[in-house]
């Protein structure tokens, strides 16, 4: 039996068992006793600003939230003077906050001030509300601050400083009338605020509120400001007692329930997999409300998940299928489009064979849709030519993990990264590409002593926060990782027990490390030997090491090998199979993990079972009543090549703007021009769609049901927030229509039936079902038939025959460098506020206001050398093509390195520059290996980064809200003392 320690405490004369060290208020909340609490929020911990949770502890009035349970503690919550002290605190809150609930947009049944006052039974206010000498701050695009309604609880500051760790908000306790301020007291729009929106999420009232809610949520709130003010005045006059006020406003709140729909969904942007409720009124999105139970993100979001949904209602959405006729597309009805697509595929298959057709799935679409796409390809058409965009990003990481530990996914959860003693990020701009996950690292580092080492050529936010930051020469990470591994081994710092018990191939690996001396590594990477030795020592000494990596590793010619080297190092130091450890190849798109998991890969069925495995193949052939080719099909890159070679004449691409995101787009679009028949399925008329013969209008995630799998291998359900925009259809329905037209016996009424089929065929997902994924429930694969999942992988050993991991020997050769002619290195990556190529985020008005333009980052040194300034226009020329753009001069890049965001569109698109170089093992384009030369078009001009961009802000880091400064104010009297004084 599991022994648990308990602490015995007495609450209102009754004995209870509490967990040792438990927060007292947390404990009281588990009992039936009720204590008011406004600033306290479980996700944030104690803030101690509101004083409403005063109780008597061992004879003394104290804040329950500020105490931990101790053995023998005697707590009283119901004595008259306790009640009096609590009332005094509540009165003070109402001095700061006007109750005009019925005409308040926050009156939705979850206003914590309203509910606390009502529960406490507060009938009268002792002191009147006093207006504050500040105007509302309406300057930002997404949320606003009303100082008049702000109770100074400090939750927003806490979340900004210590959860998001953007460090923009503080409360200035020194001024006569304290308030929340941005940076050093600038309007919010001019500050370092990244609009993650978490302040508005945690605000207990209407002080920080999403602008989408304003004048929308209530039945009576849609009034001209003057009228609203009069109505507030009117409700105030009826203020004799709060009872009637609450009765009316509660009824109004209940009426709102009828009109406002709250639907859980999973974010469609990055691979972190945030989940939240979306509040809608008809097709209007009022706000996004994360939930403490959201498994990946808790209460956190970034700007895109919280505010980036305008694209769903964009005027530019496609609402009719298009067929190319002559030199124009013609809108047609669905029947016509489907039968045309089916007949053309049929004709091509008959004439040129199934392998003449290629399929590309979307990492934006659901698992079920990936499953259907590969089923369409394999069952209906009969080819393994099916792939997805993970080919462009993370396939090398998957390869590296398959070689060494056997599962191609993060080895633990985001929680493990937060718990690590040492986090190393390599080639990952985590704060912008995976913002919510980065915040977990930032928090652990800021508050809990976690160490952060960053290896990246660019000095991004994580680099500026790191305990150690190194800038290895591009593409040489494998070298320093191997040298560090060799050093660890040479000095006997490896985890011998782990290796003996759990690993094969040690000897061969040891020999392969011979060439990686510290001297060699230092020469190639440019990192001094002494520093690398320190790194090795720190890794070996740290109990729990997690390594996160991303495109800076994978999009190189040795992307798979470098990923393998990371895994080798983790094995060597025993950093698998335990909490807080492991390999975290951070997945880029919301469902790039799931799209591969569910079989849209040329060599794997769903659940990573090889097409060449006869037993597996016959399982699918039997279930699908068809024959499936044995050999692997073509990947994305090979498909484009095959078009040029005349071996592929037809393609079907879902939700992927291949003509922008693939490398060397001149070459890719030239291939599109050669296709006989090209089908593109998307929300918008993309660059790729311009080359299509048929364009099918699809529905985005908010308009359908399904599941996504995040970077933690976590499968989560999304529910239908909105009906499909008339004329568009969910991808799974379109795929089914095409399959049926081609004679397939598909009869899915609901995506859950597709998941049931996948689960019945792929052992990795055996126990996955929609029932087990209700609401905020989730499963992290592998999932056994009984529903047991594995948040932490490999506890029962590694998925190889003898349950042991494998060292994988590597060597290295530097194949890419800048040259005399092409003397500058171009790096590229994501921006926080724009996703990927920007086809969704550029449709969000507020984001465009903050970040309207693409730009090219140039170092101060290079700008001096070329005599260019902020706003200069330059042309970059590589062997493959050329791009032009506007310069921002910054120390984020150094020397001859340039950076172009992936969201750069039009003539600045980075993929005009990239070429056909690929990772040697997976054909992932080496996007990060571009050498260019620069021509100056204009020496200076207007900065591409507007003054209201957060990059220009001045954060004010501090821990928490600094409540001590409130307590030190002369006008502050602890309510407990006040009560004693008043008697």
């Amino acid at each position: 039996m599991l022994e648990r320690d308990h602490t015995v405490i007495t609450l209102n004369g009754k004995e209870y068992l509490a967990d040792p060290g438990q927060n007292l208020l947390d404990f009281i909340n588990t009992t039936e006793e009720q204590v008011p609490q406004i600033c306290y929020n479980e996700s944030l911990g104690p803030i101690e600003t509101c004083d409403t949770c005063l109780v008597q502890i061992n004879g003394k009035l104290q804040r329950a939230c500020g105490m931990k349970v101790e053995a023998g503690m005697k707590v009283q919550t119901q004595l008259p003077h306790v009640h009096k002290a609590q009332k005094e605190s509540l009165d003070r809150i109402l001095e700061n906050h006007e109750l005009y609930c019925t005409v308040c947009d926050y009156n939705n049944g979850d206003c914590e001030i309203h509910n606390t006052m009502a529960e406490f039974g507060l009938e009268h206010q002792s002191r009147p509300f006093e207006e504050k000498p500040y105007n509302r701050d309406d300057s930002g695009p997404f949320y606003r601050y009303d100082p008049d309604q702000c109770i100074l609880c400090g939750r927003c500051v806490e979340v900004c400083q210590d959860v998001q760790v953007n460090e923009t908000l503080t409360i200035d306790w020194e001024r006569q009338q304290p308030r929340v301020i941005w940076d050093n007291d600038v309007p919010m729009d001019q500050s370092s605020c990244v609009n993650c929106g978490q302040c508005s999420t945690v605000c207990p009232c209407n002080a920080m509120m999403e602008k989408g809610m304003e004048r929308e949520a209530g039945f009576l709130t849609d009034q001209e400001p003057g009228i609203l003010k009069s109505m507030i005045e009117m409700t105030k006059k009826v203020e004799t007692g709060y009872g009637p006020l609450f009765a009316v406003s509660d009824s109004e709140a209940a009426m709102r329930e009828e009109r406002i729909k709250k639907t859980k969904t999973v974010c469609t942007y990055c691979g972190v997999g945030c989940s939240f409720d979306v509040w809608t009124k008809d097709r209007k999105i009022l706000k996004v409300e994360p939930n403490a139970e959201s498994p990946a993100n808790g209460i956190s979001t970034c700007i895109k998940g919280k505010f980036g949904w305008d694209y769903v209602n964009s005027e530019e959405r496609l609402t009719k299928p298009l067929i190319r006729r002559g030199d124009a597309f013609e809108e047609v009805e669905w029947d016509e489009a489907i039968s045309y697509v089916a007949s053309r595929f049929k004709e091509i298959k008959e004439k040129r064979g199934a392998d003449d057709i290629g399929f590309i799935s979307s990492s934006k679409a659901t698992n079920e849709e990936s499953y259907l796409m590969q089923k369409l390809s394999r069952q209906i058409i009969g080819t393994n030519n099916v792939d997805n965009c993970s080919r462009y990003c993370q396939t090398p990481a998957t390869k590296g993990l398959f070689r060494t530990v056997g599962h191609g996914g993060d080895s633990g959860s985001i929680e493990d990264i937060a718990k690590a003693d040492l986090v190393i990020t390599i080639g990952s701009n985590t704060a912008e590409s995976h913002p919510v996950l980065a915040s977990r690292i930032k928090r652990s580092q800021k508050l809990f002593g976690q160490k952060l080492f960053v290896f990246d050529i660019r000095k991004h936010e994580m680099a500026t926060r790191a305990d150690r930051f190194y800038q290895p020469k591009s593409g040489t990470d494998l070298v320093w990782i191997s040298a560090v591994s060799k050093y660890i081994l040479d000095h006997g710092l490896e985890d011998r027990t782990f290796i003996d018990e759990w690993v094969n191939g040690f000897e061969e690996y040891r020999q392969s490390l011979e060439q990686f001396t510290m001297e060699y590594a230092s020469n190639l990477t440019g990192i001094p030997e002494g520093e690398l030795i320190d790194v090795a020592e720190e890794i070996a000494r740290s109990g729990k090491v997690s390594v996160c990596w991303a495109m800076g590793v994978t999009q190189h010619m040795r992307g798979s090998d470098t990923s393998t080297a990371i895994s080798n190092l983790l094995i060597l130091t025993g950093n698998y199979r335990k909490e807080g450890c492991g390999a975290y190849p951070l997945r880029g798109h919301n469902n790039v993990q799931g799209c591969s998991d569910f079989g849209s890969i040329p060599n794997f069925f769903p659940g990573y079972e090889e097409t060449t495995d006869d037993e597996v193949r016959s399982r699918y052939e039997e279930a699908w009543n068809c024959e499936i080719p044995k050999e692997a099909g073509k990947d994305n890159h090979q498909m484009i090549e095959a078009i040029h070679d005349g071996n592929l004449s037809s393609m079907f691409v879902i939700g992927e703007d291949t003509g922008i995101v693939d490398a060397n787009i001149n070459y890719v679009t030239a291939a599109f021009e050669k296709l006989d028949f090209f089908v593109v399925q998307d929300l918008f008329f993309t660059k790729t769609a311009e080359y299509a013969d048929v364009v099918l209008p699809a529905s985005p995630s908010l308009e359908k049901e399904g599941t996504f799998t995040n970077t933690e291998r976590r499968i989560q359900r999304l529910y239908k927030v909105l009906d499909p925009l008339p004329g568009s259809k969910p991808d799974w329905e379109i795929l089914q229509l095409i399959a049926q037209e081609l004679g397939g016996d598909w009869n899915y009424d609901h995506p859950s039936e597709i998941m049931d089929e996948a689960a019945s065929l792929a052992p990795l997902f055996a126990g996955v079902s929609y029932e087990r994924l209700e609401g905020y429930d989730s499963l992290q694969w592998p999932v056994a038939a009984d529903g047991t999942d594995e948040p932490l992988l490999f506890l029962d050993g590694f998925p190889f025959e003898d349950r042991k991991a494998k060292f994988f020997p590597l060597d290295f050769e530097l194949e890419y460098d800048t040259s005399e002619e092409y003397d500058l290195h171009v790096n590229n990556g994501r921006l926080l506020e724009h996703f990927h190529e920007g086809n969704m985020t550029y449709k969000v008005e507020g984001i465009v206001k903050k970040t309207p333009n693409p730009f090219i980052e140039v170092s101060e040194e290079l700008a001096r050398e070329r005599k260019i300034h902020e706003g200069a226009e330059i042309k970059l020329i590589s062997e493959a093509g050329e791009a032009t753009g506007v310069v921002t001069v910054t120390d984020r890049v150094r020397g001859n390195e340039l950076f172009i965001p992936m969201s750069a569109n039009g003539k600045s698109a980075v993929n005009f520059l990239t070429d056909n170089r690929v990772d040697k093992d997976t054909n992932t384009p080496a996007y990060k290996e571009i050498a260019v030369r620069m021509e100056v078009v204009k020496k200076k001009g207007k900065s591409p980064i507007p003054t209201n961009n957060h990059r220009r802000g001045q954060p004010v880091p501090q821990v928490g809200v600094k409540v001590e400064e409130k307590w030190e104010r002369e006008d502050y009297i602890f309510p407990g003392d006040q009560v004693n004084k008043d008697g």
Binding site: M234, V238, P244, E690
Partner: protein
């Protein structure tokens, strides 16, 4: 050979066809909700008969205006007392002994009835008053009034 093109010819659905589609949709909805719709028609009819429909219609049309007028009007100072009185009145209601008040009101009503039967020219002398005290009904009224005065004066 498919060059990049961006020209899209919109599908013009003929108006009659669109009307037909919309009608189909409505017809289906009507059929699915037959009972409710028939009841709805009855309700509309009754509302129309008493003129409520016209009033509601007019009000909906100018909801914002109407509300604006109302709010502006009642925001004037002269209504402040009214608004402050409203909730006071509610609390007053809570304090009053309704049963006793009802009984008293009954008596007052009886008195008023009697009073109205009085000849307009009739006068009362001191002597009449003294004599009246002997009348048990008058005596009871006077006693009750004196008790009331006593109760009101008590702190």
């Amino acid at each position: 050979m498919a060059k990049s093109i961006t020209n899209i010819k919109r599908l013009e659905v003929p108006k009659e066809k669109q009307v037909e589609r919309d009608l189909d949709e409505v017809r289906e909805a009507v059929s699915e909700n037959k009972e409710a719709i028939l009841k709805g028609i009855k309700l509309l009819k009754s509302l129309d008969e008493v003129g409520t429909l016209d009033t509601a219609n007019a009000f909906s049309h100018s909801k914002k205006k109407a509300l604006e007028h109302l709010v502006n009007e009642v925001s004037k100072d002269q209504y402040t007392q009214l608004f402050e009185n409203l909730p006071e009145l509610v609390f007053l209601m809570g304090d009053l002994d309704m049963k006793a008040i009802r009984e008293t009101t009954g008596r007052v009503n009886q008195g008023i009835k009697e009073m109205n039967e009085l000849e307009p020219e009739q006068k009362t002398t001191i002597f009449d008053l003294a004599k009246a005290l002997k009348d048990p009904e008058i005596n009871k009224s006077i006693t009750m009034l004196m008790q009331l005065l006593k109760g009101m004066g008590r702190d």
